[in-house]
Symmetry: C2
Subunit: 421 residues, 2 copies
């Protein structure tokens, strides 16, 4: 007798047939003697279609009303899934985020979970019911208004519920077999990673691996929830994200995986006066516009001018806003120019093994050099090395790194069409 | 400064353009200085489409889950309407039935409103917001599960809110100009009725006039809420349903309107032993299957056999269930046969004026005779006379009655396409 939380993405419940297929898997899990709580995304393109409808009615829909509208998507898929399970002979009960006790902040469109009061879930489990929770949503603690949790949030709902309910683990069903050593569309010889630590998964997610959202992994690490990322189209084991003890893995690879990200742009501020506090002034202004800056590089000042250049990367979507902010600052700070480049890509190698292997940086860079990839920016953490390169060089850089660190397998990865939320 | 509750049906919010048009009307009402609460149905065919989806997933969807699914429809239209109003510069706030404090019984699919706790509505009104309430739904007092209120229920939501909020009146927007003396598709010279009493409207609704649902009118009468039924496609006055003092209307017509209903069937139980309690036994059994019986006629027993025939009408949809129930009873009661006829129609003349005019029945029946319409069953109330006729004779009977009681006008009624909920 265990307790399992499962999460299925929108592509797993795109139509009535898919819903029945998912129901079958849930029924099987229940019949193995488990308490089962399921977190569900909206069917297929529902969220996008609702968003289109909103924009037809109002070019700038009020966030509170947008949340009211979008949460209908998960409500519908949750009810339909409960029906499909009932049709297979088990009792199932759908709950909205609010009914499930997902208490959040009041930031519509990007609320954070601050508490979970799962009384209705546990009552239903005690009755032997399968519980289906509408993902991606909650209720604001202060206003009691319905909120949504932002991108990737159904995964976070699932992990948060697993923590709150003391589940054995949390299964995230998606349309690929798990986390791979690199994107199989770029590296056909990429291998599934059977086990990965929270730290590594965090770095992978932060560096562009789309399979799990950063917030979900952060939540899982904080609450120590084991996450099993696997395909809803097969019964194969996927990737376990969990606490790994240092050196616990036989033949620990130096590098666990190679991640890449084409979603960022680079801004260079040219000729910043090299005075104390100028950099802080710039980044405080950018932070005030709620733009997430990723890598920052500051060159040594040129002695003759007393000026320096500062470069940083940020999501492409935030480019226009950041430039506007910087332009407003230009006269006050006295820098000479702002350069914007969105033809970049970031390639990262991630692995706890690099802690005990000092030669990783050298090996990575010489692999890039051999592949004739020019490095524009570098940033490192204890278990990650990231470089910014020209966008056209990303694929070549990923392949080179994957091979250099011995990650290639002979077995070809299976890739399915479609994407999860 | 007044307080108005408006209700818009699904055909009034079928697409983004219609939603914007309705928003404009709401904004105008607000700008005249009124507090405005709007009750909204699901967009166009949404409810039917969701029902189809449910049946794809499960042939017999659990009622609790069906309510969870269907309530998404009004939630979406409510949020979209709030966005459209915001886009026109006013603050609007959508609320689900549960958030609006619509407390109901736990009968999923056909719950009754038992209380209204409109705290969130009045708080929003106090802030100057327009409040949009998702119609057709509430929350069960005991289980806190989401419920739906059955057919025509958004009208009932509106009237119940108008009563609870002490609104000046309740406006029901539909796709026709109001209540007519007969269906204008059958009688082109039918006239809009400017004012009608609750009693008459109840009889009209019970006799097939589709414009307002019976439960809504019952609620309005009980709570003394003035209802203004009007078109969302024009600014013309519609029909006011309200308490009318006896004789308050100048030139009181004997008959206010002619209603008809093609939705019923007739069952005749042949050769029922004429013993005390047999009829009760039969109708108790039928009532136990939750079938609503309408007219009942029992003939005088034939002296030689000591047996009688009992006929009753019921909704066609309940025919199969009723026959099954009766067949199970046949041996016990000892009647000889069950006859079923769904080729019937009911024609009713309704009017408080008939209280003081004893010749109404004679006039009605002779008009039918002159039109060569054969009467199969008769039932009367204080302000209504209904006859069951052959379905093919319905139109002729309606026209004959309408003319006989002087209801024809020279001005042709305006009929719009589409139907409300």
């Amino acid at each position: 007798m265990g307790r399992v939380v499962q999460k299925y993405g929108g592509s797993s419940v795109a139509d009535a047939e898919s819903i029945k297929r998912v129901a079958k898997r849930i029924v099987a899990t229940k019949q193995q003697g488990n308490d089962v709580v399921v977190v569900i995304s909206a069917m297929g393109d529902t969220t996008d279609n609702l968003m289109d409808l909103a924009l037809e009615v109002s070019p700038v829909p009020p966030p509170r009303e947008l949340d009211m509208l979008l949460t209908a998507g998960e409500r519908m898929s949750a009810a339909l899934l409960a029906m499909a399970i009932a049709d297979q002979g088990l009792h199932a009960r759908s709950l909205t985020g609010s009914q499930a006790g997902i208490i959040t902040t009041g930031t519509h469109g990007n609320a954070r979970i601050i508490d979970i009061t799962p009384g209705r879930i546990t009552s239903a489990l005690d009755l032997g019911d399968v519980v289906i929770v509408a993902g991606f949503q909650g209720v604001a603690q202060d206003t009691k208004d319905v909120t949504t949790l932002g991108r990737g949030a159904s995964d976070t709902t699932a992990v948060a519920l697993a923590a709150s309910l003391g589940a054995d683990h949390c299964e995230i069903y998606t349309d690929v077999d798990g986390v791979f050593t690199a994107d199989p569309r770029i590296v056909p010889s990429a291998r599934r990673i059977p086990r990965i630590s929270y730290e590594e998964m965090l770095e992978m997610a932060a560096c562009g691996a789309k399979i799990l959202h950063l917030r979900c992994v952060e939540y899982a690490r904080r609450e120590n929830v084991k996450v099993h990322v696997r395909s809803s189209f097969s019964d194969k084991d996927g990737t376990w994200v969990e606490e790994l003890e240092e050196g616990s893995q036989m033949e620990q690879a130096i590098i666990s995986g190679v991640a890449h990200d084409r979603g960022e742009a680079k801004i260079t501020i040219v000729g910043v006066p090299d005075r104390v506090g100028e950099a802080a002034r710039i980044f405080e202004a950018v932070a005030a516009t709620e733009i997430n800056i990723d890598m920052i590089v500051q060159n040594v000042s040129a002695v003759e001018t007393g000026r320096t250049d500062i470069s940083f990367t940020l999501p492409k979507a935030d480019g226009t806003a950041a430039i506007a902010t910087l332009q407003a600052l230009q006269a006050g700070v006295g820098f000479t120019d702002i350069l914007y480049d969105d033809q970049i890509g970031k390639v990262s190698v991630v692995g706890v093994g690099m802690r005990s292997h000092p030669g990783v940086t050298a090996k990575f860079f010489s692999a890039l050099a051999a592949a004739e990839v020019n490095i524009e920016m570098i940033s490192t953490s204890e278990i990650r090395i990231s470089v910014v390169v020209n966008q056209d060089d990303v694929d070549r850089a990923v392949v080179a790194a994957h091979t250099a660190f011995g990650l290639d397998s002979s077995e070809q990865a299976v890739v399915y069409a479609g994407t999860g939320r």
